[in-house]
Amino acid sequence: MIFNLTYKPYGERSILVEWPQVINKKILYDVLAFKNKILKNDIELIIDINTAYNSLLITYKKIKTSFNTQVSILKETYSQENIYNKQIFKQWEIPVCYDVDFGVDLKTISLAKNTTKEFIIKQHSQAIYTVYFIGFLPGFLYLGGLHKALCFPRKETPKLQIEKGAVAIGGNQTGIYPSESPGGWNIIGNTPISFFNVTKNNACFAKPGDSIKFYSISLKKYHDIKSLVDAGVYQIKSEVVNG
């Protein structure tokens, strides 16, 4: 127990637990450890737990759940030792085609930053990004770790249609559009990998605490992988990074 948490009632049957208002991995892993303890304790009436950068939203089955009683149960749970903290986190290797056909905004970014497209691609595919949580769209990963040199403001007017698989930069974040969607981020490439698939047991392979590494592929390789993905036989490369 390292953080001073606040507990707030949120609507008739949810409790919001908040950590200090900063984004870092120490907080992320503490949020995930707390979620894990709640799951392992199998606390009655809890039907959903959702995590974000520095918060945990716990939803109960019944509307008339006493807030104070539930908070004391949660506080006790948080103070338990981390004996369950044997979570396995994976690093996923994600192929990205940074070809200008896909990376329609690469030129704008390189001109504005007075650099080359190659530099942007190199920086983007060198870093290791942490998955903080999934939100915005089904399968949209909130990733931390974008290199400062690549931060670029969102567009003033969002584009009505961004393609599925688009890899983009918005402010100090980078992300992958898991489905076709309107959006204001700058597109630098596209991945043939599917980040949300309802036909699979686990609709999104990545989870909070995992990490993502991008690697550059050619247009030909993109289409090769895409056909394997469409056929449902592509294996995403991954390795366990801690346990």
């Binding site: 609507g11 959702n50 950068y53 939203l57 807030f67 939100g135 915005f136 089904p138 609709a203 999104c204």
Partner: protein, 282 residues
């Protein structure tokens, strides 16, 4: 089977939605007006969570190719079987070949159609609620065919419930304080509960935006979870009330949280109608 002859303005199949998938970024979805939808199922003796059709502003035209019972609740859109007007909040027998249609809207904004045993459309993540990117079909279209069970009229189910018009005319939306309510100034807090707000034309299953603005200098928050019924305050001072198809996370301060039943009351309102917030204590 039921065939969609006309699809209305925005019609979907909904049950109570998906819970437990929000960590994947999947919205809750589900009927906006739980109260009205539940009555329709109750009158037919269906399970509480049986899937119903939710129609918005303009009703559908359907042709049945089997016998069933139906019940229509929520907004009064002048329903007819063939050319005969039928009552709302009442079980009605349907014979194969019957055509159900709707006309003028007398009150409300969303109408619910329940059929015996519910609509048997695709189940994804334990729910039949339609949502783009989750279910294959996300809005009903002309010539869609929806699977239903063949059922005979059961005249034990002939209860009629009197409609409480207050439910459709009340302007009061009951709310609790949201997680960032305390960040508002005393002045802003006062305005929130004294002002009358108007529903803007930006209203759908994802969110209802209100027309009026509040002076606002609150900073965005670090992206965190949101719920249907959350009232967000945008940097430009607009209030956005999230509905069932809302995203699972957001970065605007969450100033109020609607009582769950108030989400249903709000969903029966449309562009230009007014509401005011009434604060409830936790």
């Amino acid at each position: 089977m039921v065939k969609v002859i006309k699809s209305g303005f925005y019609s979907t199949i909904q049950d109570f939605g998906r819970i437990g998938y929000q960590h994947l970024g999947v919205p809750y979805s589900g009927v906006l007006d739980c109260y009205s939808a539940s009555i329709a199922n109750a009158i037919l003796g269906n399970n509480k969570g049986a899937a119903v059709m939710e129609m918005t502003m303009v009703g559908v035209t359907l042709q049945f190719d089997c016998n069933t019972n139906i019940c229509i609740t929520g907004a009064d859109m002048s329903p007819k079987i063939n050319s005969n007007a039928i009552r709302l909040y009442k079980a009605i027998a349907i014979k194969a070949g019957d055509v159900l249609s709707f006309g003028k809207v007398n009150y409300g904004f969303r109408s619910y159609l329940a059929v015996s045993e519910g609509f048997k459309t695709e189940v994804v993540m334990k729910s039949r609620s339609m949502y783009k990117g989750v279910t294959n079909k996300f809005v009903l279209k002309e010539n869609d065919e929806l699977s239903i069970s063949n059922a005979f009229f059961n005249n034990k189910k002939n209860a009629i419930i009197k409609v409480d018009r207050n439910y459709f005319t009340s302007k009061i939306i009951e709310v609790f304080k949201g997680p960032e309510f305390a960040c508002l100034s005393k002045e802003q807090q006062k305005m929130m509960f004294s002002k009358i707000f108007t529903i803007s034309k930006e209203n759908n299953r994802m969110a209802y935006q209100l027309k009026e603005s509040l002076a606002n200098n609150l900073k965005p928050i670090i992206t965190s979870s949101v719920l249907p019924g959350t009232v967000q305050l945008t940097p430009s001072g607009k209030l956005i009330i999230l509905m069932k198809d809302c995203q699972t996370t957001g970065g605007y301060p969450r100033v109020l949280q609607l009582k769950e039943s108030s989400v249903g009351i709000l969903s029966q309102k449309f562009t230009g109608q007014s509401i005011s917030f009434k604060l409830l204590e936790y």
